[in-house]
């Protein structure tokens, strides 16, 4: 998982050609657009060759002096063994984090000299950062010491050497030295006893690492915990003795993509470019199942099943992140009421509504909602991480908003926390009380901004979708899907009247009925038939028997388009008004205000909550909608029987 950078999507075909295309676009497109393209290109599980190609692009960007959101850093790389293979992967991976990094390599085996000599190239290079990469095999910590005293001397000598390098270089750096911990040996000398025997190589490395960590705690250096990374990968994979013997490579060269990202994200953290907000999908991400369909009792969450426990673990991870200052938000395609229900009523929910700074549960697309979240919190899109189980949603968000991090999470919720942690989105180099309080601060800000975001320009967003709404009569071709919708739709369904396929066929042929089906396409594709309306053609009025719509196109103004059709068709038929009826069911609360919202007047209200509505047709104007309407159901109105 770590080695292959599984949290990143696979690169697209002809990666090298794409790098060249971006290179050619330097100077031709604006800095912000260039930034998006570069980050998007770099946000993939790239191999060593591809990262080297990106490193070349990074040099071009530096030479061209591009601005925009790019950060800049000049990094000196020095330490033990052959480090040349690390440079390009660090530079290439840094673009993923929005950073143009230039690497200056120290000479082989000359770290101390170059750090102490004020006239060396490292001092003259105008560095911001330095990375100090050490290997136990170059520090005399790879063989057991003859006594505990000698072991302590060796550890102290190794630590003093690191300190000398850092103190020598620091005056020439504008920022920090990144100091790597030392990878312990895989091979034990005594076995388990190594850990308690101070003369063993393992114990000496361990002692040195503790000293490095204490040093970093003083704020003088920044930790790059290579030892932990190597252990996570497995030292047997991390280290290849043959490569050390042949080329003095500290770790297997196949791991440079992982290592490069690890270093790059640390630099990004120092520069304040770590992510700030974790945006959570709900259905099948925080719990198993679909709350709108399954209800609070039907979702999978809690200690009674393996799947239920996995979702609890995901929520725990989110809550832990919040307690260290990561802001939590929700972005879900759901009815708001339904989405909040588990937070309020499910006994095994770990997260409560109070933990969520921005709660976006609606039926508009996720990209639009993520923008609202970023605006509400007043942070950049490049501060967001979206955790979502749905590959199609992830693809859509990546395409629309390449700056939002959208990890590939695989298909097993049990793995989500691990993958999210491996990606290192929330890397930090310090931690304070302020950090602990940050989530609450953003939350308060979000509440203030909430009113503002409500006025965001929805029509502009809808127009950008280039929707085509096709209205046609129900016929033999559309009959099966129409009947399926009639029998399946629960939430957006005014009367919940069910008709079999044969009954639908009878409706089609009945001249007293007007039955239409509506199809919606947009620039992402065809949503298919998403709405069905059946009206009874009476002498003076049209009475709407059935009006339903698929929830996936909520918020797209399809009901208004449908109303436009009904008004026109009824007028041509000589009717004076439309009559609508709402019959409450356990699941259709969503549309209780449907007719009111469309301008109908309430006529009667029954004791069971059933309401009847009337819309006068005379003088009624049909508004222009942000979509193209293709209406074939108006063409041949059948005259009503008299």
């Amino acid at each position: 998982m770590l080695i292959d950078l599984d949290w990143l999507p696979r690169p697209e075909d002809d990666f090298r050609g794409r790098v060249k295309a971006v290179e050619a676009a330097i100077g031709a497109i604006g800095d912000d657009a260039l930034y998006e393209r570069v980050v998007s290109l770099a946000t993939a599980a790239l191999d060593d060759a591809q990262l080297t190609q990106l490193a070349r692009l990074s040099r071009r960007l530096a030479e061209a002096g591009v601005g925009g959101h790019f950060g800049r850093a000049r990094l000196g790389v020095l330490g033990d063994g052959t480090l040349s293979l690390c440079a390009a992967p660090i530079v290439g991976s840094a673009l993923r984090h929005g950073l143009i990094v230039e690497v200056v390599e120290g000479h082989y085996g000359a770290a101390v000299q170059e750090a102490m000599d004020r006239s060396s190239q490292l001092h003259a290079a105008g560095l911001d950062f330095a990375l100090l990469s050490s290997d136990r095999r170059a520090m005399a910590l790879d063989v057991a010491a003859p006594s505990a005293e000698v072991a302590e001397e060796r550890v102290q000598a190794a630590f003093d050497r690191l300190r000398m390098i850092v103190e020598g270089l620091s005056p020439s750096l504008s920022s920090a030295v990144l100091v790597q911990t030392i990878v312990p040996p895989l091979e034990s000398l005594f076995g388990s006893f190594d850990r308690q025997e101070p003369t063993s190589s393992f114990a000496m490395v361990d002692a040195l690492n503790r000293r490095i960590a204490a040093w970093a705690a003083t704020g003088k250096v920044v930790l790059v915990d290579a030892a932990r990374l190597a252990e996570a990968v497995g030292i047997a994979t991390w280290e290849d003795p043959a490569h050390w013997h042949a080329s003095k490579l500290s770790f297997s060269p196949s791991l440079t993509p992982l290592y490069g990202d690890f270093v790059a994200r640390t630099i990004a953290a120092v520069r304040g470019r770590s992510r700030k907000c974790l945006v959570l999908d709900l259905d099948n991400t925080l719990w198993g199942g679909v709350i709108g369909d399954d209800g609070v009792g039907g979702i999978v969450l809690g200690q009674n099943s393996a799947a239920g426990e996995a979702f609890v673990a995901i929520q725990r991870m989110a809550l832990e992140l919040r307690s260290r200052g990561v802001v939590l938000a929700v972005c879900s395609k759901n009815e708001d009421d339904a989405a909040r229900l588990p937070f309020r009523e499910h006994p095994e929910m770990v997260l409560s509504e109070d933990h969520i700074a921005v709660f976006q549960a609606n039926w508009t697309d996720k990209a639009a909602n993520l923008k609202v979240i970023a605006q509400t919190l007043n942070i950049g899109l490049d501060s967001l991480v979206l955790l979502d189980d749905n590959p199609a949603e992830r693809l859509q968000v990546r395409g629309e908003l390449p700056l939002v991090a959208v990890p590939e999470v695989g298909s097993d919720p049990a793995m989500y926390p691990r993958i999210l942690a491996a990606a290192g989105y929330f890397e930090t180099v310090s931690f304070s009380q302020e950090d602990r309080d940050r989530a609450a601060y953003y939350q308060a800000n979000a509440q203030r901004a909430a009113a503002l975001s409500a006025t965001g320009n929805l029509d502009e967003y809808l127009a950008s979708l280039e929707m085509v709404c096709s209205i046609g009569c129900v016929d033999a071709v559309s009959r099966a899907r129409t009947s399926q919708l009639i029998n399946k739709s629960n939430q957006f369904n005014l009367t919940t009247r069910r008709y079999s396929e044969r009954e639908v066929e009878a409706v089609e042929k009945d001249p007293r009925k007007h039955a239409i089906q509506i199809r919606l396409t947009d620039r992402f594709g065809d949503n298919g038939i998403i709405s069905v309306i059946i009206a009874d053609r009476k002498a003076e009025t049209w009475e709407i028997d059935t009006w339903l719509m698929s929830c996936r196109v909520l918020g797209r103004r399809v009901p208004e388009a449908a109303l436009g059709h009904l008004v026109e068709a009824a007028r041509r038929d000589g009717a004076r008004a439309l009559i609508g009826r709402y019959i409450p069911s356990p699941k259709n609360k969503m549309v209780v205000g449907h007719y009111k919202g469309l301008g109908f007047q309430l006529e009667t209200e029954g004791s069971q909550g059933e309401t009847v509505w009337r819309l006068e047709l005379s003088g009624l104007e049909i508004p222009t909608l942000p979509m193209t309407i293709v209406d074939t159901a108006l063409e041949a109105p059948v005259p009503a029987e008299t």
Binding site: R16, A49, T52, Q53, T82, A242, S254
Partner: protein
């Protein structure tokens, strides 16, 4: 896998690793013929080949190679 199948794949990997277009590679090609082919990019090349063919070379095997033809033969044996 035959040499005829392996050589074009080697060429594609070399173009990718050395970041060069339309590289001419034959069995007789050696590191001398390609400027970008130095000791470090050689390691990168070997790693890329190991990854592509899902094989692992021993140090002695790598050191024994004289030209691309030897490399192709070695892959043919190991990936068989």
């Amino acid at each position: 896998m035959s040499s005829d199948q392996i050589l074009p794949q080697i060429r594609a990997i070399m173009e990718d690793v050395f970041d060069l277009d339309d590289l001419s590679v034959t069995s007789a090609t050696t590191a001398e013929d390609i400027e970008e082919w130095d000791s470090l990019s050689h390691i990168r090349l070997v790693v890329a080949i190991e990854r592509k063919f899902k094989i692992k070379f021993k140090t002695a095997e790598i050191e024994g190679l004289k030209n691309v033809g030897d490399l192709v033969d070695l892959i043919g044996v190991k990936a068989a």
